[in-house]
Symmetry: C2
Subunit: 198 residues, 2 copies
DNA sequence: TACTTTACTGGAACAACGTTCTACACCAGG
DNA sequence: CCTGGTGTAGAACGTTGTTCCAGTAAAGTA
């Protein structure tokens, strides 16, 4: 597919691939998931619509590339928590997660909202999500090793944390947080998680 | 709009409205959110596509009616928890919530997945979601009054529970639960909530 | 340098979608 | 039996994802 070493021919300009994903991200942020059309992205990138099909096969391939970037950003945000204190590290991790979602609401919504009903549950995307999850598992293991969390399977514990954090962020993006101060409610959630998993 | 007592004319057959929503639910369950088209629903109901626009204005109005039913089902499932013991009542509540989501995955996905990026954040739907949430608030209040949960604002506490439960169900529907036994992981989540909110 | 292979462009075309328009059928009141 | 508003059936418009086709330009090989 993307085998550049094929005999002869032109180098499949990787620059265009990048330009298309860049353009798709701009369109996604500007016009939302509904405005993310092949023609709009091609126009944004100043490229013929056919370029999308040459590079990504179809529209799903393009949005998969965008979502892959999103998951990488989420993994990076999660892995950026490097405090020495295990509890601080977990708190930073949770706060970075929420900040990423609030800073990239369209990305987050597409990452966890579109995959369900219909499209794009690609193997690669599940792996990308798994990589982000692994960053959390590592931080849970760090805390378990230092006695900050109960000595249970870090995967099980991380799954519980991910569920709660993802749910809180999802409801906040959906405008379904009924409390006065969502930020404070989120902090209370993190504290409750620490209490419940100690 | 739905004023039947309008002078003269034909009875604005409310039966058709019901038939269209029924058909839309069947199509949603059978073909997913992507297959939920105006033409498909009209064909399923053996009605002209224009009927959708006469009854609901546009497609969003129709799916809003479907989602309203979904939220009502979720509220009913939540409110069905009536155990005398406050902890049992909360556990039943949480289990019913998950059962509803797993029994109606397309509904649940559309209810909490589609509203974000683009469509259908209708006032009425937010109210319906609020009604379901209120059933949870009531059960939290019941537990707080009996000392089963810490004496905090029931709305705040219910929001934390809803976040965790919704997140767990969302990830499970998305196929992102990495543990061996999702049901056991969910039970562990409920137990952790009880521990963290005691 | 010249040839070949491939990437990319431009535009037309198709099916399906949401939506609107136009004509026809029904049902109450005069 | 008419007449007016309500609802229906179906054609029609614009946009979407996608494919096809012919032409252009660039990169690798000889």
């Amino acid at each position: 597919m993307t085998d550049v070493s094929a005999s002869g021919g032109r180098t499949p300009s990787r620059a265009l691939e990048q330009a298309l994903v860049d353009a798709a991200e701009r369109v996604l942020v500007r016009d939302g998931l509904g405005g993310l059309t092949v023609r709009a992205v091609a126009a944004e990138a100043a490229v013929a619509p056919m370029g999308v099909y040459n590079r990504f096969g179809n529209k799903d391939g393009l949005v998969a590339a965008v979502l892959a970037r999103g998951f990488e950003g989420l993994r990076a945000a999660t892995a950026a928590a490097e405090d020495a204190d295990p509890v601080d590290r977990l708190l930073t991790c949770g706060r970075n997660y929420r900040r990423f979602a609030l800073d990239h609401p369209q990305h987050y919504g597409a990452m966890f909202g579109a995959g369900w009903a219909a499209a794009v549950p690609t193997e690669e995307l599940v792996d990308r999500a798994g990589a982000a999850f692994q960053a959390l598992v590592d931080r849970v293991g760090y805390a378990v090793d230092r006695g900050a969390l109960r000595p249970a399977d870090p995967v099980d514990t991380a799954q519980l944390i991910w569920s709660s954090v993802h749910g809180a962020v999802s409801l906040e993006l959906a405008g379904l947080v009924k409390t006065a101060d969502p930020a404070a409610t989120y902090e209370a959630l993190l504290q409750m998680l620490l209490d419940g998993l100690r």
